[in-house]
Symmetry: C2
Subunit: 370 residues, 2 copies
């Protein structure tokens, strides 16, 4: 079965819906934790379940290099390999190839690059990306798109979206896994006309959902939100809309307001490993000396494992001493924080007060580390 | 209340008993996982409970440096600080001072040393060690002993056990925590006469239990077991006997045969972080290429979380990619392995067939990495 998006309720452009997958049905808006290498770093899958996560994301590029899609296929696919019975979305590998692997050489056929691990030469084409994702057997696969540099000129971007469109058609052609959905990606940078063209191109093809790409590399919040705003009006109401690589609370709220349904980002777990955690007041460093004798939870009223079991003073000690259990506790807290926020967002949309919720959240939340 | 040891059954010299503490009663022989910095590395306290651990150990030296005993006292003691409701044993700090912190300068008063973290000058005396442990509020504190180098001459060792005896008396004098037990330590290296003298000295004092020290630094299994054998005959039957720093399966079996009740060692969790795990056949490296496509559990019939949830192929992938979740899974497995082994040992003693159990275990178990 392909995923199905059921739109239940709108509050202006903000959407409350349900994403039906082969591994359960999940409400949107939704934040998807990232399990790069078939593990959401430091966390067990029971802990991921406890955060109430729905879909989790895994990275095709990383899994292609280690342990390889053939091994995962032998294990019975990615669900079975990592023992996760919820849905999985895999990216195309394109973003990592364009950001991690250098030098690279892009042609109509695909992109030549060197592995960031051992420098060996590799070649990713639309067909290859789909073949890998078919073998991984994720619930949702993504087309290979060109991830243009930011900023890019209008001409560069125009050529790029044309190529991305041709690649999208090749992905559809190559896609063989009947149980796997395939999502198209709208690019076009910050150019209104190109976002529109790219959206029209992409939505002309029979994809099961649509992503807005190229936003996470944008500089500054205004640019990012503008890119979202330029793309969403052209996306069909009956398909799920995915904003790739964005997981900063305010960016997500602004994007939900513009009609986005699902998000992924490594931010929540990456900052955790460096000792930072989300609160309603903003992002905080647990290493701050003011927490040395703070025997309260990371955040009052938080229902995550870390907040139910340990104090700031203890978790601070763990991070100062570079102890993995501390990184794990903050990863759990941050993941639960974003998922809890999405629960509230859904409630707000259902009650027609998303805008109030958003404004109130933003009023209390400082973007810089506090 | 002080801990009480209840001897229930002997099978030759091997002892089955119960250690009663302020935080529950636990059967012996027992393996105690090590939570150096108030965390058993990578594991949650629920996971430690799931391995059926009883007492866990924490290190006074490490906690004195980070986060400091005063902070832990403010948190309400170590149980409360780390949120562990089982019993805790703290060492004296001596072992780390003698092994980690250099240069050191031993006098009758105590030992001057430099922190291994920042080089600051510190001074550990018997009184200071007890004061720190009183504040940590562990269930069991250890006396500060001199940990002599191995090998040491007879004369050096003779002077050392005399000093250790004088330090033991000072520790008893300084000990003020009515709810905390204090254990004495028998030293004496590999010298039969000195082990006897040290045991007689130590057991002449009103300690709540007795440890055999200086064994983990011994070279070779024969030397270690000899040291145990030289000390245990002089230890009273009605007190628990603790072999410090030994956690290799065969060493533990040999020591149980000679009358030891409790053990601690970082081995099980340290080797886990390097990708090694215990099996009935011996210690194994998960990184071995032969596990690449092995979709079975680490060990058949193991009831640990790792074995119930994940395959060798998956855990191998995690370790190869340096993922913390893999280190955590192996830490859980190794801890459970040793504790499960102790469950079997206790059954064997109760059934008067410890010797068969031990011989059978050793026959199947290779000491080198297989």
């Amino acid at each position: 079965m392909k995923v199905k998006y059921e739109l239940i309720k709108k509050d202006e452009k903000a959407r409350y819906g349900i994403l039906h997958t082969n591994h359960g049905s999940y409400e949107t808006p939704m934040f998807m934790p990232v399990g790069t290498l078939a593990t959401v770093k430091t966390m067990s899958f029971d802990e991921i379940k406890e955060t109430k996560a729905g879909v989790i994301l895994s990275n095709t590029y990383h899994l292609h290099l280690r342990p390889g899609e053939d091994l995962i296929a032998k294990a019975g696919g990615l669900h079975s390999f990592m023992n996760w019975d919820g849905p999985i979305l895999t990216d195309s590998g394109g973003f990592q190839v364009f950001s991690l692997a250098r030098p690279k050489d892009i042609s109509e056929d695909g992109v030549k690059f060197k592995s960031h691990l051992d420098g060996r030469n590799l070649f990713l084409t639309p067909e290859k990306s789909i073949e890998i994702q078919n073998k991984l057997d994720s619930d949702i696969a993504m087309v290979l798109d060109e991830c243009p540099p930011y900023p890019a000129t209008y001409d560069y971007m125009k050529n790029s979206i044309e190529r991305t469109f041709r690649w999208a058609k090749r992905c559809l052609e190559a896609h063989k896994n009947e149980n796997q959905s395939l999502f198209g990606i709208v690019q076009g940078g910050e150019f209104a006309e190109l976002r529109k063209i790219s959206a029209e191109y992409t939505t002309s093809l029979p994809f099961d959902g649509f992503a807005v790409g190229g936003v996470s590399v944008g500089e500054g919040q205004n640019t990012k939100i503008k890119m979202v705003e330029l793309a969403t009006p052209y996306l069909p109401e009956d398909k799920v809309r995915y904003l790739m690589g964005v997981g900063e609370p305010i960016d997500m709220l602004e994007s939900i307001e513009r009609g986005i349904d699902i998000f992924d980002c490594v931010l929540s777990t990456r900052i955790a490993r460096h000792g930072n955690f989300f609160t309603r007041k903003g992002r905080v460093s647990i290493k701050n000396a003011r927490f040395k004798e703070d025997f309260t939870a990371l955040e009052e009223n938080c229902d995550c494992y870390a907040c139910k079991h340990h104090t700031k003073a203890y978790i601070r000690h763990l991070l100062v001493a570079n102890e993995m259990y501390g990184m794990r506790l903050l990863s759990i807290h941050n993941t639960r924080f974003l998922i809890k926020m999405m629960e509230e967002v859904r409630e707000a949309i259902k009650n027609n007060n998303f805008k109030d919720y958003k404004n109130n959240f933003i009023k209390n939340y400082k973007k810089s580390i506090i």
